[in-house]
Symmetry: C2
């Protein structure tokens, strides 16, 4: 397997995370770097979706990925092998989320002058990551069909803070009681402005629509 | 819908959670009440599995359920409607886990003199709940097939602290790349003693084997 850089993230010393996140966002704007914070439950397909998205965009913009994980580096290796782009692993040492200070530690290990888009794959968790602004330009999350259409009712904050919700694993819709219309309705109860993209990372279906949206976001940010 | 009792749980004031958990476990032993702490990702099927298990056991032992959730009470209502047993909802107010003090607050709202088994359905999260001993007799977790067989590699602590792992949604095995043997191997890397039960809560397949194990546990505890 390819070797990837693994960074041991320390708990942030900044007490005021919101201020630190705003400062980071301003710095990224100045440098023309767009940061997407991608969240989800464990096993919803973040890494596979990312691989598809990156392969659609990597000839148009320069992309890097930061994979947050408690312990392993399987995701960073997978991204690097499947896309060839710069990918680093952030070890959170058991921490259940990333804040702006921790995100900054990761960014310091990327060649930001050569990057247009950084995707932060947050820890697989629908609770804690929603509570901390990472300094990203946008928050996105993936809800997979097998998890059920009621998740916006149970994890309200996560769905409130996300600008984009990808509904993944649409290929298994016939085998689960998942009502797409009801799910959209629940998502919009939490955030009326949220964009919802049904995708199937396994087959690639729908990922192009999300990739097109992301490309537009990055280009607008860099203006 | 049936009304269920909803308890707003406050953050525990006990600094020494491990000691408090041990004290709680001793008290439960004295009272002949077995507490099972059930953990999983969001959407892995905890509530459906519980309904099946309770319906297999409720004529043999007296059961109560405490449903921990950030905000909603859909799970407690579902349990009550589908099984008729005593079910209460614990609102964690955004907290991502339960500790022993919070568990005790829930138990104080149950008629423990009339109960043999209490199941605590923890917050859907593979990270934080693993870090806090709730005072339960055993920790169990559910991993569902769509989440992937690699989860023990990514969430090591959760699999280390669990005595039992239920592998749920076996009915959709044909549609996912999930290697049951590999998954068992990864689980046993984290905890060589862990019992692994493949189940399908939707059809009921395999749930009887888990229920039988649980019945034996409760009877041994009460001796």
């Amino acid at each position: 397997m390819d070797e990837v850089k693994v960074i041991e993230i320390k708990k942030s010393i900044f007490a005021e995370n919101d201020k630190d996140a705003d400062d980071l966002r301003k710095e990224l704007k100045t440098r023309g770097v767009y940061l997407l914070n991608l969240m989800s439950s464990p096993g919803s397909g973040k890494t596979t979706t990312l691989v598809r998205t990156i392969n659609l965009l990597k000839d148009k913009i320069r992309i890097a990925v930061m994979e947050a994980d408690i312990d392993s580096d399987v995701d960073a290796v997978k991204i690097k092998e499947a896309t060839g782009i710069k990918s680093i692993q952030l070890h959170t040492g058991g921490m259940c989320h990333l804040d702006a200070g921790m995100t900054r530690q990761g960014l310091d290990n990327l060649p930001l002058g050569d990057v247009d888009l950084v995707v932060l794959e947050n820890v697989g968790n629908l609770v804690c990551p929603a509570e901390f602004d990472t300094g990203s330009c946008r928050n996105a999350m993936i809800l997979s069909v097998p998890e059920g259409d009621d998740k916006p009712l149970k994890y309200p904050l996560m769905f409130s803070v996300c600008d984009v919700v990808l509904i993944n694993k649409t290929d298994v819709l016939p085998y689960f009681d998942f009502d797409m219309d009801k799910c959209r309705e629940y998502i919009h109860m939490r955030n009326p402005e949220a964009k919802v993209f049904p995708v199937c990372a396994k087959t690639g279906e729908g990922v192009d629509v999300f990739a097109e949206w992301l490309l537009g976001e990055v280009r607008t940010w860099k203006k």
